[in-house]
């Protein structure tokens, strides 16, 4: 027997015709959704169509010259910038989350100050970070335009993100785990490192992946900290541009638009990869729960 409670399309249309206001709202909802996703498809499609044919072997030459306009050094710089920023930010982020979740007293003044400052940090636009990095690391500490100055600037930028995700991951570890560990005579420190932290790793990882996305996409905070030199720096105290900065410079100069398209493709691929990996991590996270 056929179900009687399925609203047939004809019925629905009849209902909407009786309620013009609802029909109008429905049209708005559909229209807005179409606009949103058309914008995305257009953007990605356009970049891919224009960029993929320009992905020549030349672009991956080891050294940048104004003939090959190689993006390879920028790619290397992006990887090392990501690496150094994470090395600085992750321990601080995790440790401060450990303090907030495992050690602090609830409602203490210090904790609420930390929360307010972390919230403030996460809202500061990247150009302000760039200015600060320029004033502090580049000028005051005399590091000049260098990978290190850039990495420290980015590290501060991603710190609140890592703090927040780690905090949430630690909070989601059931108290029974901690009690179990204490019950076996383990100290607080041992409990945190051997029981709580390992359980929280997928959550922390998700935060780290998000941070990588921000580092890879960042431009404004790097132009006046890491600088815009198009080669792989010899040391961490030299200047070097990441892919995003590279792309900005290319489109600013206006001479190498094809190469800019190709760079955009590489950036898109990285973003897609990051989203895919973080999707996997989140999936594993929810499975565990």
């Amino acid at each position: 027997m056929e179900a009687i409670n399925k609203q047939r399309i004809k019925e629905r249309i009849k209902g909407y015709l009786k309620n013009p206001w609802s029909l109008m709202i429905l049209i708005f909802v559909i229209l807005a959704t179409l606009i949103t996703f058309t914008a995305l498809v257009l953007l990605v499609g356009y970049i891919l169509i224009k960029g993929v044919p320009n992905l020549t072997l030349d672009l991956f030459s080891l050294h940048y010259t104004s003939e090959n306009v190689s993006l390879f050094p920028a790619l290397i710089n992006t990887i090392s910038m990501t690496f150094v920023s994470l090395i600085i930010a992750v321990p601080f982020g995790i440790f401060s989350a450990i303090y907030l979740v495992e050690y602090s007293k609830r409602g203490s003044r210090f904790v609420s100050i930390i929360r307010i400052t972390a919230e403030t940090l996460s809202g500061i636009p990247s150009i302000v970070y760039g200015l600060f990095g320029y004033l502090f690391f580049v000028t005051a500490l005399k590091w000049r335009y260098s990978m290190l100055a850039g990495a420290f600037t980015l590290a501060i930028m991603i710190l609140p993100l890592i703090m927040r995700t780690t905090e949430e991951a630690l909070k989601s570890v059931p108290d029974s785990y901690r009690e179990g560990s204490f019950g076996l005579g383990a100290g607080k420190l041992r409990t945190v490192f051997k029981v709580v932290l390992p359980t929280a790793i997928p959550g922390i990882l998700a935060g780290v992946i998000l941070s990588i996305g921000r580092i890879v996409g960042e431009t404004a905070a790097l132009i006046y900290t890491a600088g815009t030199i198009a080669t792989v720096p010899k040391t961490i105290m030299d200047s070097g541009r990441t892919l995003s900065v590279h792309m900005y410079e290319l489109s600013r100069e206006g001479l190498f638009m094809n190469q800019a398209y190709a760079t955009a493709v590489i950036l898109l691929i990285i973003v897609l990869l990051i989203n895919w990996v973080s999707g996997m991590v989140v999936k594993r996270l929810t499975k565990i729960k």
Binding site: M1, A3, I4, K6, E11, G15, N19
Partner: protein
């Protein structure tokens, strides 16, 4: 003549058959009570009478339900059906807006914009729901500030404001204290002068106190449906007897 008629109704949640071959006729201006242990399908049937089950994913219904002889699942406009068959939920669910706007929501939905007319409807509904005196001075205040019992009477007033013919009440007192409960019971008895009421209750005494007819549900079936007095004094089915004398809990 019966107001609502359910014929050969089966209801599935996915593969699970939650209601089996239900046949019930509900008479006008009476209180009909659905009783039975939890999970027996009484609330599910109630929600089928104003098509709230349409929202549930994987729910499939077969059979017919008619209101005044008209098939509610076929030709009837669903919003009009829900206007004619109002509902009061288990947990009081006033909207997070003023008391006035809560009551006015229904009439406005059905096209009444005139301020004077709305004012009249609101006063009448609140009076009918026996809560007017308690809220008349705070109509513009948030409905969430009321007590649980007041909230439930407000929800009844909200349902009355669209002038329904049938009022479905899904365990309306299960979240309330005894005093609020007796207020709602008194109200239900008063309302049956004008409305046909179907009330799901987990409380047998409540059914015995206020209903005219009672249906006893067990495992998705109507075991027995009769005058309340007959059902409680001379149940014809052994299972009904067991339940009302307390063997099923």
């Amino acid at each position: 003549m019966s107001k609502l008629k359910v014929e050969n109704l089966d209801l599935y949640y996915g593969d699970f058959k939650a209601l089996k071959d239900i046949n019930i006729e509900v008479s006008e201006k009476e209180i009909t009570a659905f009783i039975g242990p939890s999970g027996c399908g009484k609330s599910t049937l109630l929600k089928s009478l104003n098509r709230m089950n349409d929202l549930v994913e994987g729910c499939k219904i077969t059979g017919t339900v008619t209101l005044d002889g008209e098939d509610i699942y076929k030709s009837m406009d669903i919003n009009l059906l829900r206007k004619r068959v109002g509902m009061v939920f288990q947990k009081p669910n006033p909207f997070p807006m003023s008391i006035y706007d809560n009551i006015a929501f229904g009439p406005r939905t059905h096209g009444i914009r005139n301020k004077g007319k709305l004012d009249d409807i609101i006063e009448k509904s609140l009076r009918d729901a026996a809560i007017w005196d308690e809220v008349k001075d705070r109509l513009k205040k948030s409905a969430l500030g009321l007590s649980g019992g007041q909230q439930q009477r407000l929800c009844i007033a909200r349902a009355l404001a669209v002038e329904p013919e049938v009022l479905l009440m899904d365990e309306p007192t299960s979240a309330l204290d005894p005093i609020s409960t007796s207020k709602i019971e008194d109200l239900a008895v008063k309302l049956k002068d004008d409305y046909t009421i179907i009330m799901v209750t987990h409380n047998m005494q409540q059914a015995a106190r206020i209903s005219d007819r009672t249906a006893f549900f067990l495992l998705g079936e109507v075991v027995e449906y009769n005058d309340t007095e007959t059902l409680f004094s001379m149940p014809s089915d052994k299972r009904t007897e067991d339940y009302i004398t307390g063997r099923f809990g």
